[in-house]
Amino acid sequence: MNNIDFIDIIRRLFEGITTLADSPPVLCWTGVGLIIFGAVLVFLGKRGILEPLLMIPMGLGMIVANAGNLYLDPTTAIESERIAEARWINSEDRTDVRYFTIQGTPDFAEESKQTDKYIHVKSTDAIAGFLKAGELEIIDAKTQQKINGRVLLQGDLNVEPLVQGEKNLVALMQKDWIQPIYNYAFSNNLIACFIFMGIGVLLDVGFLMARPFQSVFVAFCAELGTIVTFPVAIACGLNYGEAASIAIVGGADGPMVLFTALKLAKDLFVPVTVVAYLYLGITYGAYPFLIRFLIPEALRKVRNKPTKKPIKVTANEKIAFTVVTCAVLCLLFPVGAPLFCSLFVGIAVREAGIQSFTRLIDQVFLYGGTFFLGLILGLLCSARTLLDEKVLILLVLGIFALTVSAVGGIIGGYIMYMLTGRRFNPVCGIAGISCVPTCAKIAQKEISRVAPDVIVLPDALGINISGVITSAIFTGVYIALVPMIGA
C-alpha cells in the first residue's frame, strides 16, 4: 500500500490541469490566455463579426490544443523530434522540474532554465537513450555528482508541426488523430490549393477583361504593403524567408500566406498564418473607417466612367485567356505553379460550365479546405508554438502590411481618378486588396452609404479579381527570389 504514489495518481487523473500548472508560468498563462482567446473567436464567429467558417473551427481547435495537454511517453520526444522540449524531473524533489534546451553545442550541453544548474549529455545517442529509458543517471556539471531523475514530456494528441518524416508520422499516427491530415494535406499545401481552386470557381474574369488597365493598375498599387513590408521586416530582424511570408499578408489572401510561409518560413508558419487570418477578419471591419478617413464624402459620390457600349466577353474568350495566362505565369514562376494551376483550373471549370466539377470544388473542396484549415490552425496554436519572440514583430508587421496595402489601393484609386478626368471613384481602390469578393463589397457598401444610386461593383470586382492574380504573382516572385538572395 505504501508503494502507491497518490500524488502521481492525482496528477494523472487531472492531466489537463496538472500539465498546465506544471508548466513554466509564461507557458501556463499563455495557455490560459489562448483558451480564452479561442472561446472569444468562437463567439465572434457565431456573431458574424469575424468569419464564422474559419473562426469557429479555429477557436475550438485553439481551446483543445491548450487544454488537452497530457504527459506523453518520453519516447515520443524522439519519434516526434521534440527532444528540445523534453523536461527532466529530479526524483528526490519531484516538484522541481527543470527545463532544458539543446543548444547544439559540440558536446550537446543542455542549459537549465535555472541558470545555476547544468546538465551535460555527451552525445545525441546519450540524449536518445536518456529519453527512451525515461530514467538515467546524469551528472550535474557544477557539483559533478550523479543526479537521479526521469524524463517528462508534455504535449497533446493533436498535431505536431515538426513531424516531417514518414517514419515519425507512422509512429505518431496511432495517437495523433489529425496528424495524417496535417502531413498529407496541410503541410504540403494541398488545403491551400483546394481553397484557391474554390476561389477560382467564384471568379468571373470577364470583369477583369472588360476593364484591364484600371483593374491591373489599381491592384498593383494595392500590393504596396507586400512590397514595403519586406525591407521593413528585414530591418526588424527577420530573415528573408520570414520577411517575405509576413509581407505577403499585405496581399490579404490567406491561402497565399500559408503557401509562402510553408515554403519559406516553416518554423514560423503557424504564427504567420494565424496572424494573417485574424487580421483579415479584423481589417474588413476597419477598412470602411480607413476609407472614410482618407476619402472625402464628395469624392465617394463620384460615378465611374461608363463604357461606350456594353462589353461582351464570351466563355470561350475567358477560357482562352485563362489558358494563356496560366501557361505564361507557370513558365515565369514555376515555383508558384501549384497556386496558378489551382486558381486557373477553378476559373476554367466555371467557364466550361462543368456543373458537377463546379459543385465538387465549390461545395466540397472549398468548404472542406476552409474547415480543416481553421481546425488545424487552431490546433497548432498551442502556447509552446506561439511563444516565440518573433510573434510580437509579426503582429505589428501584419497590421502594417494590410494598412499600407489599403492605403496603396486608395492612392491607386486617386491616380485613376485623375487619369480618367475625375470619373473614377477612388473608393474602388480598396478592392485591389485581393480578398474576393469582400473588398469589392466593402467598396460598394461605402459608396452606397453616401450615394445609393452609384453602382461600382463591376469595376470593383474586376480590380478585386486582378488583385488575386497580382497577389499570386507576388507570391511567385518572393518564392523565386528569396532562395536566390539567401533565405
Binding site: L208, M209, A210, R211, P212, F213, V216, T307, K308, K309, P310, I311, K312, V313, E317, A320, F321, V324, T325, V328, L331, L332
Partner: protein
Amino acid sequence: MKKIPRYWITGTAIAIAGVVAARVVAPELKDSHSVYIVVKTLGHLVAFAGIFLIARGISKNTE
C-alpha cells in the same frame, strides 16, 4: 473557320517572347549580373504586357 483576332496572336507571341527572354536568354547572361537582372526583369514585363494586350483587345471587342 472563324478568324482568330489579331490581338490574340500578337499578345501570345509577345508573352512567349517575354518568357524566352526571362527563362532562356537571361540565364545565359549570368556572367554579367546587372545584364542578367535587366534582361530577366524586362522579360517578365514583356510577358505581362503580352497578357495585358490580349485583355485590352478583348475589352475593345464591344457589340
